[in-house]
Amino acid sequence: MAVILNTKGLRKSFGAVTAAAGISIAVEADSVVGLIGTNGAGKTTFVNMVTGYLKPDAGDIFFKDRDISELHPRDITRLGICRSFQIPQLYDSLSVFENLVIALGIRDRNVHGSMLSRTFKLVPAANPLVVAAAEKSMQRFGLLEYRERAARLLPEGVRKLLDIAMALISEPEVLILDEPTSGVSADEKFAIMDMVMDAVRSHGCTVMFVEHDMDIVTRYAPRVVAFYEGRILADGKAAQVLSDEQVQTYVIGGLRTLGTGASDVSHA
């Protein structure tokens, strides 16, 4: 299968802290990859670099053979890579519906040309196609009952879902989820991931997700990449990586000692 996203030797330091010491990952189209590692291992830094929020100190990032390491997040989004956030990034004073409509408005603008060209047309919310797309998204993620509620008043799990829904609304080719189930209660986390993976499957897109919860990782990620102190400890089939000695010691082991079992440690 073709490699859709390829990073080579990514490096990033913040003063004395090395967040990335040569990260090379090749992701195949339509695959699902889980990124694991303890806090501070460099997973989110990696995601921030791939999505353009941080510039790598060295190394390349290729998306479909195009070098994207110098691009802004907005350009990278337009090219087809979207992400969700560890802490949901929403428009807090706007309703769920309005959040999605804004996202659609931007998407349409990117697809259909300049904003000025829409000067004398009606607001996106009045466009039936936009409304339909927003409704579909809300239905898919179980957000319909929260349609008119302001984002800041939503329960945490719902905020996460909205965050992910907004990322998916651009129908990206690559979707990166940063800790999709952190802060979500144990009984909800599978429901959320099921919803997300269903939505993704109907789009056909490549998924990378960062997770601490090993139950989620084992259930949804055929391939796992383990981070540790800015380096990749192991990269391969889930069963292999998770049973790797070093990974057990430095990643899962480290996580396990915080509680009595893997399912206790699912929060960032």
């Binding site: 802004h72 990034q89 929403l90 004073s93 829409r118 607001v123």
Partner: protein, 312 residues
């Protein structure tokens, strides 16, 4: 949430009413014209306010627009009122585009104080420029339109009518802008810029555009004022002038393009009478009123900074 926006119709109605009633209210025409001019500046401020930005320096463009009109009429003998208004707007827009490159990098307090500083620089420049009359400013030669003399104290109706029409057009256009995808981006930018960038839009260029629009509107307002009063001076760029615009913007709220004009009219009327009775307490009254609005009408103020409730 599908609906048609009734604002253009309300504006049209207001225009017709004003134009019809005008000849019967000769004593109020000047005040109304001034209010419309200031309302234009406040309209620009509201565009910025919806994005969460408070400019304490709109007086800069108000003044530049006025001085453009004054200079052209006095030194280049341009008499056509429409041309003068256009010139005022254009010069301000160009200046706003240039300054916008710096200002679009800032938010909150920085943005507010930088705009203030910039307007004070212009004030200082004008005060030191004797060719432009220093602190006294200079007079604006009467302009004309379609053969009729517009400015002047004798018949104020033509100027009033011109102001009404100009304000109407500006309000309708601004309203349309606010309903486009870029216009709607204001609340999103105010709430979460990172998310906006990650959705694929440039926050910086959106803010730059809004700043230019605000500058252009302020310039137009200044041009109208210059023609109406027939005199301009550097005081227009002083920060207290800008502060008054901010006050009216907050009072009126950001919910509609009509609010700036209504607010400006009420403000001008109150100010005229307050000044007559007690010039030394005007700022006291203004400041207290502002505090009362901030404390007791948090929804009014809140709609500027937090929640934008659009009514059908």
């Amino acid at each position: 949430m599908t609906h048609t926006d009734k604002t253009p119709f309300i504006l049209l109605l207001a225009l017709v009413v004003l134009l019809a009633l005008g000849p019967f209210l000769p004593n109020w025409l000047f005040l109304l014209t001034m209010s419309l001019g200031k309302g234009l500046v406040v309209l620009g401020l509201v565009v910025l306010l919806r994005t969460g930005l408070v400019s304490f320096g709109q007086g800069l463009y108000y003044c530049v627009g006025a001085y453009a009109v004054g200079s052209l009429s006095q030194f280049a003998s341009v008499k056509n009122a429409l041309l003068l208004l256009l010139a005022g707007t254009l010069v301000s827009a160009i200046l706003a585009t240039i300054l916008g490159f710096l200002l679009a990098n800032y938010r909150g307090i920085f943005f507010a104080m930088l705009t203030l500083a910039l307007s004070m620089i212009v004030y200082g420049l004008l005060v030191k420029t004797s060719a432009l009359g220093s602190t006294d400013g200079f007079n604006v030669a009467p302009a004309s339109l379609l053969g009729k003399v517009i400015s002047g104290q004798r018949n104020q109706y033509p100027m009033f009518a011109l102001a009404c029409i100009v304000a109407f057009v500006a309000a309708v256009l601004t309203n349309s802008y606010l309903w486009t995808a870029l216009g709607q981006l204001s609340s999103a930018i105010r709430d979460n810029e990172i998310r906006v960038e990650y959705m694929g839009a440039s926050v910086r260029s959106a803010i730059h555009t809004k700043y230019v629009l605000a500058g252009a509107l302020a310039g137009l307002g200044g041009a109208v004022t210059a023609l109406a009063i027939g005199h301009i001076d550097p005081e227009m760029a002083y920060w207290t002038t800008s502060g008054e615009f901010v006050f009216v913007a907050i009072l009126g709220g950001t919910g509609s393009v009509i609010a700036p004009f209504l607010g400006a009219i009420i403000f001008e009327f109150i100010r005229t009478y307050a000044y007559q009775y007690s010039p030394n307490t005007w700022q006291l009254v203004l400041g207290t009123a502002m505090l009362l609005v901030i404390i007791f009408l948090p929804a009014g103020l809140w709609s500027a900074f937090a929640r934008l409730r659009r009514r059908t």
